[in-house]
Symmetry: C2
Subunit: 339 residues, 2 copies
């Protein structure tokens, strides 16, 4: 069961050297005779020696592990963020340990505990749609373990954050709908504990205001991102005495689900009702009609968050600054909004 790993002690014995000398040779310490170093290195190589990370971790009190908490794994969004983060992190000799919570607050809390138990050197976090209490994350800050939020952030915590310009993205989405002649623009919004929902909603309001389109609260529905509910809300909207002629959905999955419902009712997209999403999921290009959406620099978000975190790790806690990086978005026009 337990394999016999070769250790520094073994090497020292074989080579008739002291453990410290071997250790020094192995760590590239300057004070070793070139000859000795070569001897040790060669022996280590051919005997397939590998440092015992457990011991090193104990001495240095560092795990070289960075944790990342993701709320879900099934859209392409978070996997891409992870890839971005991993590239950055591994280039600095760290490893990523990932935990996904399936949008469950309970699971998120337990995942956070696991990260703590594993003594990660830092944590990247995007919270679930249910998360309203952040105690489990504050604990990290208290222990001196740096945290960086990305995408779904907790605005009350004084830590660095990476977000996209949701306000601006939403604004441009709605502006685009107005420019193609739509007047009654519905918004299927996210739960308002998520700051992205609030920011996108504000962008929606701002665009209407700019073009003097009256706000009709009837056309704004916030929902909990549970896909099954989309059908209900869309049908409700379409059954209104004055139904909407356009829909701005909080994200692409929502928009896509909405499109299925709309198509089933025999309505034409975009003629009868135009649809626009948010995030530019891979799907949005492939469905029919293809979906107009707001693209985010997803890999870059992961990379940036990782970079901020690595900086914190290298910096004394007294110098930590809660920078917020806001990434730009891009309007991608496809067939769901043009005739």
């Amino acid at each position: 069961m337990k394999s016999h790993q070769i250790t520094i002690k073994d090497i020292a014995k074989q080579l008739n050297l002291s453990k410290s000398t071997v250790s020094r040779a192995l760590t590239g310490h300057p004070m070793v005779k070139e000859e000795t170093r070569k001897l040790v290195l060669e022996f280590a190589e051919k005997s397939d020696y590998q440092k015992n990370s457990f011991a090193i971790n104990l001495v240095t009190q560092k795990s070289n592990l960075i944790g990342i908490l993701v709320p879900e794994f099934l859209s392409t969004y978070f996997p891409k963020v992870i890839i971005g983060a991993q590239n950055k992190i591994s280039s600095e000799g760290y490893n990523l340990i990932i935990a996904q919570s399936n949008e469950s607050y309970e699971t998120e809390v337990s995942n956070a505990r696991v990260m703590m138990a594993n003594q990660v050197d830092g944590l990247l976090v995007s919270v679930t749609k249910e998360t309203r209490n952040f105690e489990h994350l504050m604990a990290f800050k208290r222990k001196g373990i740096p945290i960086v939020f990305y995408n779904r952030v907790c605005e009350d915590m004084d830590v660095p954050k990476v977000v996209v310009d949701d306000y601006d993205g939403a604004f441009r989405a709605v502006e685009h709908l107005i420019k193609i002649g739509k007047k009654r623009i519905a918004h299927l919004a996210g739960p308002d504990n998520l700051s992205i929902s609030r920011r996108r909603l504000n962008g929606y309001y701002a665009a209407l205001r700019k073009y003097n389109i009256p706000v009709d609260e009837e056309l704004i529905i916030s929902y909990d991102l549970t896909m099954e509910k989309v059908k209900i809300y869309i049908n409700h909207l379409l059954n209104l005495p004055k139904p909407p002629d356009a829909l701005f959905a909080i994200n692409d999955p929502t928009a896509i689900e909405a499109m299925q419902v709309i198509k089933k009712r025999g309505l034409r997209i975009p003629e009868d009702i135009a649809v626009i999403g948010f995030s530019n999921d891979q799907l949005s290009e492939l469905i029919e009609p293809s979906l107009t959406t707001i693209a985010q620099p997803v890999y870059k978000i992961g990379e940036t968050a990782a970079e901020l975190l690595l900086n914190l790790i290298k910096t004394d806690i007294s110098l930590w600054k809660p920078i917020t990086k806001t990434m730009p978005t891009e309007l991608v026009i496809r067939k769901s909004t043009i005739g």
Copy 2:
């Protein structure tokens, strides 16, 4: 920078007990007076004591980490496998550390090294489409670290594997095409270093044989799964003097890409050419026409692989058996094969 973590020694000092007593109380050792245990536990609780996993790892020579190597992250397939594996693994107190190689052999090798350096207790592996040399994985077995393959396996290594019944799935896919009246069935196959490609190809042959349809080698193309190439091959097939009336693609992304090309040429699916994929990606239901495909029990695959691995970890190396678990598939009929 370094936070001041409280240790057993601290607790012992505070409570005027020996370190071993405290340790015993904390680990639930039976030989401690109920009163002492309570005292210790309470103090630990209120002082927010947390075991130092580095020290425990050193003593036990276990990391409680399980590594998983995935070739890519952008289809929904591997994320689902990961979720399945994570559920199993975390229920036994282990954690998952994930590395994706972006279908690059080099990256896979380097990821494997990282896993080794982190001294994972076991490894789940699905290789890249490029991987032909398995030395980097054999190293684990040599060191006594258990490995389990899933999905894309190395048949030459004597370790447990979890695969789906590719042969049977392919057989039924092709049989279905034959039953709806198709006669010239093309197969866009995968690279033949992947055993799944070979097994699916064999299933294809078997179905043709059973129904006495002559094999036309012209209709079989293996390719390297690089999406850009699909267009070339599909156009080639459609330009043949006798073009195919059906296509069995190695996987869903390939099938979907093929459908775009077919539709662009103005051909009707399934009337002119029926299409069938493999894996039942989320996409296949949403594109138009929806894609007939072979579904795999994806979560279950991750779960099963994890289960096999956990068994190995608990078992003496001399008793390891290279079981191969073959999971069933299911034909999901959609519009790309029915009129």
